[in-house]
């Protein structure tokens, strides 16, 4: 593989064909054999590199060679192209005015190669990178330039139903690892000419293709430039998943809250595009990133827009409350039972006191114990092979909880509280927001254990200040709530029926064209006779 020097050098170059200072030994020489030999050395001579030399009869038998890396090329395209070349090689052309390398080169590019996308390179290193990309290279003896044919292909997973973000009603197709299929899925949904794809190559070793997708005229220009600026700044060995990029380009380094939304569903991505957000798609992972994003967006699942508005509103309120439950419930339980017992109604207090009669641990420790057991069970459930995974975590939780209560280690009320919290944290559609709630829960529990409700309120104040300070790509994170934007509130806690959602969310979509649907489309039943 190329020596370290190359790595340093090529890193800056990044995208092919833009090299400035080409050292002498990089340039293609007229002699075919030396080129082949140097190219082999550049690519480290793996035996999956295929080299096929041909001889053209009517161009005074000049030799030319086809090179590609087997496995990452589309076998069918290669074989048809080879067939075409072989025929062309034996055909005899009469009006070959000047035989020799240059017009053979032109002849091949114009008449005989059966591949759509062609381009040419003039250094060994560019040819090598192109071959690594999955293209095939044609070197002509005596010619200083080589033809690069885009024959990328290879085994990719078929389009399946997304595993993490399932939906009862709504499209069932999900993104795959192959960037080309993903862009085609988006193209199939949004067939508008203003849909822009801008490609980048990130990662010195992995050279992952990243596509920045937006709708011209709807997404804000500054946000797009900001995305590009931050992506270009990334200088890393390899990008295997969009998560790598997420941590590089988010606004604030240390925050439990996700500043970029990820989705596996093309319809969710297109929904974001239509609302003026930018989608970053990374090849090799079905999860694409959406920016800029606000706190409220994590409580909207794509199904809200497919179901009727009343159930959608109801579910949204449930999700919001379950977020706070999963964050606050255990700490509230600790605070009220150990600091402010007077808030409990008398009968509840007596039954709780009776339960806690034989419990050795203080409420805080008891809560910690149960929380950690539940986290362990959940992780075990995920890591288990697909079939028995969920069964283990649920059965485990019940059996363990029951046994602990019988043994008198944990009070029954605590098991209820902790299991309800665990379930509540599953309700949040976006997993990364659920994770945020789980982490903050532990901090709030400690504060509740030491200062009671005062501690919880201090923790909430810290949280509020932190949230209000957050920004996602320059847009305030608590957008519709604290910099109060009345028109956006239509789609946050409640979802007004579709015919009422005329304006795009302001301050996210560009201010030029605001309206996304015509006016006065409220369905009005024809007034049937008296």
């Amino acid at each position: 593989m190329p020596t370290d020097k190359h790595a340093g050098h090529s890193g800056k170059e990044g995208s092919p064909g833009s090299g400035q200072t080409i050292q002498a030994e990089q340039v293609l020489l007229p002699d075919l054999d030396s080129n082949l030999e140097r190219l082999h050395r550049f690519l480290g001579g793996g035996e999956d590199i295929v080299c096929r030399t041909l001889e053209h009869r009517s161009f005074n038998r000049t030799r030319y060679a086809l090179l590609y890396i087997d496995g990452i090329v589309d076998g069918v395209a290669i074989s048809t192209m080879l067939l075409g070349l072989l025929e062309d090689a034996n055909a005899s052309y009469t009006e070959t005015e000047g035989a020799g390398e240059p017009n053979l080169y032109r002849h091949l590019t114009e008449r005989s190669i059966a591949i759509g996308k062609l381009s040419d390179v003039n250094t060994i290193e560019q040819a090598g990178y192109a071959m690594l990309e999955g293209c095939s290279v044609l070197l002509v003896d005596g010619c200083l330039r080589a033809i690069v044919m885009d024959t990328t292909g290879g085994e990719t997973r078929a389009v399946e139903e997304p595993s993490s973000q399932t939906v009862i009603r709504g499209p069932k197709e999900g993104f795959t690892e192959n960037l080309r299929t993903n862009t085609s899925l988006i193209r199939r949904i949004i067939k508008s000419p203003d849909l822009r794809f801008e490609y980048k190559m990130i990662g010195r070793q992995t050279r992952t293709n990243v596509a920045v997708v937006y709708l011209e005229g709807i997404a804000e220009r500054e946000v797009i430039n900001e995305v590009h600026r931050r992506l270009d700044k990334i200088d890393i060995d390899g990008v295997l998943e969009s998560g790598y990029i997420e941590e590089f380009i988010q606004d604030r380094a240390f925050t439990p809250f996700p500043l970029l939304q990820n989705t596996e569903r093309p319809d969710a991505a297109c929904g974001a595009l239509l609302e003026g957000q930018v989608v970053i798609m990374v090849s090799g992972t079905p999860f694409s990133l959406i920016a800029p994003v606000t706190f409220a967006k994590f409580f909207q699942s794509s199904e809200d827009y497919y179901q009727r508005y009343d159930i959608a509103t109801f579910l949204r309120i449930i999700r919001m409350t379950s977020f706070f439950i999963s964050m606050l419930l255990p700490s509230l339980y600790i605070a009220i039972t150990t600091f402010h017992q007077e808030m409990l109604p008398t009968s509840l207090l007596i039954s709780l006191a009776a339960q806690r009669e034989g419990i050795p641990f203080p409420a805080l420790l008891e809560a910690f114990l149960m929380e950690i057991t539940f986290e362990i069970l959940r992780e075990a459930g995920v890591r288990m092979p697909r079939i028995i995974g969920p069964a283990i975590s649920i059965v485990g939780a019940l059996v363990l909880g029951q046994a602990a209560v019988q043994a008198g280690i944990i009070s029954a009320a605590m098991v209820i509280v902790v299991s309800f919290t665990a379930i509540a944290s599953f309700v949040i559609p976006a997993v990364n927001m659920g994770i945020a709630a789980r982490l903050i829960r532990f901090v709030l529990m400690i504060l509740a254990g030491t200062f009671g409700l005062f501690g919880i309120m201090s923790g909430l104040m810290l949280l509020l200040a932190h949230l209000c300070g957050l920004r996602s790509f320059g847009k305030p994170y608590m957008m519709p709530f604290s910099p109060f934007v009345a028109s956006n509130m239509k789609d946050v806690l409640i979802r007004v029926p579709w015919w009422a959602m005329r304006k795009r969310p302001t301050n996210i979509a560009s201010d030029s064209n605001k309206f996304r649907e015509g006016a006065g489309q409220k369905p009005r039943p024809d007034q049937e006779g008296a």
């Binding site: 808030m343 109604p345 200040a465 109060f484």
Partner: protein
């Protein structure tokens, strides 16, 4: 980009700079002075507060968008400007310590009586420092969210107390002499004068001209909450019993009894009240840090916040003896200090501006 806060957010900041301490200790003092006409002195305080808001906004109009200290320097010359900046910085730091101490007393009286004071003060100042470190925009946004929360919780508590209210207890109107009513309105007027914090906030506003609107809304909201607590105290407990309670608002919430389960919820209302206390502390810490950093030409505000908060914890705990009578000291003894800081100083600034404007107009071009 320069931080920009909206009018409503500034109003929330101004309101939370006034209300928390005012609603805690002031009602029982006012009622002990002016008996059942205390709510009239509350109205007087409201009117005075609006007047002060108008005055401050008028002064702020002269500011062409520069930050406060640099504005002072540009209008009165460098040495005087720095002196004013330092003076205000110290004044705000001192009132920050007073506020921290009164809230620590409140929390340890009502909720956590065995927790040592230094730990309470430590937690409070740590949270406040963290909030101020997030910058003025984050502070403004949290103030707005807390204001919304209060505007939901306060009417709810009135609705729940509806059965106990009996307006006839206010009846012998104007029973007390006008003099007593004026004296009773002194503490709230002193606290309402905190609206002068607008001087520092207007440069940060998106529309500085709307400073007047923000000031008015802030003072009116604050005074209305005071009036609400006064009326609740008078109509539920009558004017003899209230002077006996050091924290009227807490006792009012303590007698709520709706059904068998909704009883003894005053700790919940007080916890929601903690949020407004935090905003008030952050506003004062921000003000003092802002003044000191700009007058001493320091580089970063984060270090000043860290230093000041440690100093504040120490001073607030040691400056006053342990066994102080509830909020009394801070409400009454503090009045002259508040008057100097919030009324005399802005008046001097206004006077100075008038004089210098005459000179500046003559030599209009070179000095601005």
């Amino acid at each position: 980009m320069k931080p920009a806060i909206s009018t409503m957010q500034t109003a929330a900041l101004v309101q939370s700079a006034i209300t928390p301490t005012m609603v805690l200790a002031v009602p029982s003092i006012m009622i002990s002075i002016a008996k059942q006409d205390a709510w009239i002195s509350g109205v007087i305080a409201l009117v005075a507060g609006m007047a002060m808001a108008l005055g401050t906004a008028f002064i702020c109009k002269a500011n062409k968008g520069q930050l406060f200290v640099s504005w002072m320097e540009s209008s009165f010359g460098k040495p005087v400007g720095i002196a004013i900046g330092l003076l205000l910085g110290i004044y705000y730091f001192n009132s920050f310590c007073i506020i921290v101490r009164s809230f620590t007393n409140f929390v340890s009286d009502i909720v956590l009586d065995q927790t040592p004071l230094y730990m309470l003060a430590g937690i409070m100042v740590a949270v406040t420092a963290f909030t101020v470190m997030q910058g003025i925009e984050a502070l403004a946004r949290s103030a707005f969210v807390v204001l919304i929360l209060i505007l939901v919780v306060v009417p709810l508590s009135v609705f729940v107390l509806y059965t106990d209210i009996d307006f006839k207890r206010l009846l012998p109107l104007f029973d007390e002499s006008a003099a007593r009513m004026m004296i009773a309105s002194l503490p709230p007027v002193a606290l309402l004068s905190e609206v002068s914090v607008l001087l520092l906030l207007t440069p940060y506003m998106k529309k500085p001209a709307a400073g007047l609107q923000a000031g008015l809304v802030g003072t009116v909201l604050g005074a209305l909450q005071l009036l609400l607590v006064l009326l609740l105290g008078l109509t539920i407990f009558g004017q003899q019993l209230v002077p006996m309670m050091s924290y009227t608002f807490v006792n009012i919430m303590a007698i709520v009894e709706v059904g068998e389960f909704l009883e003894r919820i005053e700790v919940f209302t007080v916890s929601v009240w903690f949020l407004t206390m935090y905003i008030k502390m952050s506003v004062f810490l921000f003000a003092s840090v802002h003044c000191l950093v700009h007058s001493l030409r320091l580089r970063s505000e984060r270090h000043m916040v860290f230093g000041l908060s440690v100093l504040a914890i120490v001073t607030s705990l040691t400056e006053w003896p342990r066994n102080m009578g509830g909020g009394f000291i801070f409400a009454v003894v503090n009045i002259p200090l508040l008057f100097i800081g919030n009324i005399v100083l802005p008046l001097l600034i206004a006077l100075g501006l008038l004089i210098t404007r005459g000179k500046r107009n003559k030599g209009g071009s070179q000095s601005s």
